[in-house]
Amino acid sequence: MNLVQTAIDAINLGAIYALAALGVGLIFSVMNLINFAHGELITAAAFTVYALDGQPVGIRLGAAVVAAVCLALVMERVAFRPLRKANPATLLVTSFAVSYLVQHLVVLIFGARPIGVSLLPELSESAALGELRLPLLEIATIAVTLALLAAMTFFFRRRPLGIQMRAAAEDFTMARLVGIKANRVIAAAFAMSGILAAVLAFYQVAQSGTISYRMGVDLVLVAFVSAVVGGMGSLTGAALGGMLVGMTSVALQTFLPPTWRPYRDAFLFGLFIAFLIGRPQGLVFRKAHRVRI
């Protein structure tokens, strides 16, 4: 029954990466910014959960969401809004600087050592289903992610703000010409990326039990890869890309010979470069994003 276990692991990791990729892809679609600092939203939410240790779970989770959303909005207002017209390379470096700043603010406040946190320890048990042992936490992760994806789909298809955001992702200038407010759409995108980051932080804290100021970096790197694989600017693509990258990662972990296993990430990123060369536009390619001459 190892294969079923592996499949659950793969879907679990895929779900996590899909959320990370969505957070990055959302920002990219409205302002062409590859937000390196998305990882620090995750870190901020995780440290909020830690700082409120002892409070009821609901308050800890709620405060973490609020913290991540606020940080996202502050980043947007202070660092990215003045640079909205700058080229993507400058924006990328700016987000790198924001990320570095937040990381070391965390070091200043909480120190550089990893800290152990317990969140919902009752989820770390497994449910037995016949011979199968189902880790509750992974099942919960998958369920929450699916619910979140459904909610996002509803938002983007039915709510006015969601439709405006999709229009802005399609063609930002045109959207503004028909009266969509740029600041509102972009702020909404950052707020949503904050919520996604907070949920990711819950997964991370619950599954690994440790937090550190660097915890967001690894996730955000994979999120970039996933978003690029999915096709920058497409949200469906980002989710698909995350799934694909997560499953590939678990597959490599399972099927690589043991001596090569430590090099898993090297293989993963190597495959990414190979993918870029074969299909630089990503899985889901939108005609609107083609460079026009």
Partner: protein, 349 residues
């Protein structure tokens, strides 16, 4: 790009600045000498990064990989065979093989350039921000490999016992060479073609510029220079571990490039000097200054926070860096022309 062709003033002025700094430091205390030596090494690294990113407009997060590869190769070639035997599991021929530092460093830098060509061949034909992402992937791949390839890199443990051959003078010579190569390259026809692609990829391609080829040439040159920086660093520290060359170094070198201005050589060089001066100020503050009851000694991370803030402020208010893309030679030339009563014979526009 007016004034760049035949702009000998810029490299000359930059060389003079670096030379004076090194000379002044050579009379100072050993601690100060180390600071200036480190700055000169960063000049090599950042000028390397500039040769590619500055001229092509493609931000690279992977140059630290080139540094790392060159540093490890140079370490393997120069470490005493007995040390290698104790720390690593190398093939016997490589274990016995030993070179003086200068040829080893040159071989190592050339190897970095070779790797740049191999990686660049597929990656440099990609457009937009995608090649930047690919350089990021390269950084992670080299880091993972260095961490796990115990027989050759020592894995997570540090390699020790590298000959400490980086003095202030060797660093100065390399920095001057780096500035010279970068100044020469950006004045060649190929350098100008690459800057065309930076301004507009589509327009450049439409007049027949082979974007991938020009970028690859620059990448190889810049990987060689950055590799040289990595070698200098390795023989400056005397030890190497995979974390020496990872995200922190990437951030620091990018900050140096962007603060001065990624679009000019002067910006790259002076950015290094400015950031190094700021870092050093904060490092000396760690000796225990107490302001408003906050003890600076106890606070790790202060220096990094300050660096990031300065970088952000400059990015927000001067996205093109302090130099805004002009070269010091051009700026000074214009200034002198305006002051002097007799206009020079060279046309000024």
């Amino acid at each position: 790009m007016r004034g760049l062709k035949g702009d000998f003033a810029t490299p000359a002025i930059l060389a003079m600045v670096l030379g004076v700094a090194a000379l002044a430091a050579s009379f100072a205390a050993p601690a100060m000498q180390r600071v200036v030596t480190e700055a000169l090494i960063y000049v090599v690294i950042v000028v390397g990064l500039y040769s590619f990113s500055g001229n092509s407009g493609v931000m690279s997060f992977g140059h630290v990989s080139f540094m790392m590869v060159a540093a490890y190769i140079s370490a393997l070639l120069t470490m005493p065979p007995l040390k290698k035997h104790a720390l690593l599991a190398l093939p016997l021929a490589l274990e016995r093989f030993h070179l003086p530092t200068v040829p080893a460093g040159l071989i190592a830098s050339a190897a970095a350039a070779l790797i740049a060509l191999v990686i660049g061949w597929p990656v440099m034909r990609l457009r937009g921000v995608v090649p930047s992402m690919a350089t990021f992937a390269l950084l992670i791949i080299t880091h993972v490999v260095a961490q796990n390839w115990k027989g050759v890199t020592g894995g997570r443990q540090a390699l020790v016992g590298l000959p400490l051959d980086t003095t202030i003078w060797t660093a100065l010579i390399c920095a001057l060479a780096a500035v010279g190569i970068a100044a020469w390259y950006q004045q060649t026809r190929r350098g100008a073609l690459l800057r065309c692609t930076r301004e507009d990829e589509v327009a450049a391609e439409s007049i027949g510029i082979h974007i991938a080829r020009e970028r690859m040439v620059a990448l190889a040159i810049s990987a060689f220079i950055s590799g040289m920086g990595g070698v200098l660093f390795a023989h400056f520290l005397g030890t190497l571990n995979p974390n020496t060359f990872y995200l922190d170094t990437t951030f620091l070198t990018l900050a140096m490039l962007v603060v001065g201005g990624a679009r000019s050589l002067s910006g790259a060089v002076l950015g290094v000097l400015i950031i190094q001066a700021i870092s050093e100020t904060f490092r000396s503050l760690e000796d225990g200054v107490t302001v408003w009851g906050i003890d600076f000694t106890a606070r790790a991370g202060m220096q990094e926070v300050a660096l990031a803030l300065i970088m952000l402020i400059i990015l927000v208010f001067r996205p093109d860096g302090l130099f805004g893309g002009s070269e010091i030679g051009t700026v000074l030339g214009n200034f002198l022309r305006r002051r002097s009563p007799r206009p020079k014979s060279t046309p000024s526009s």
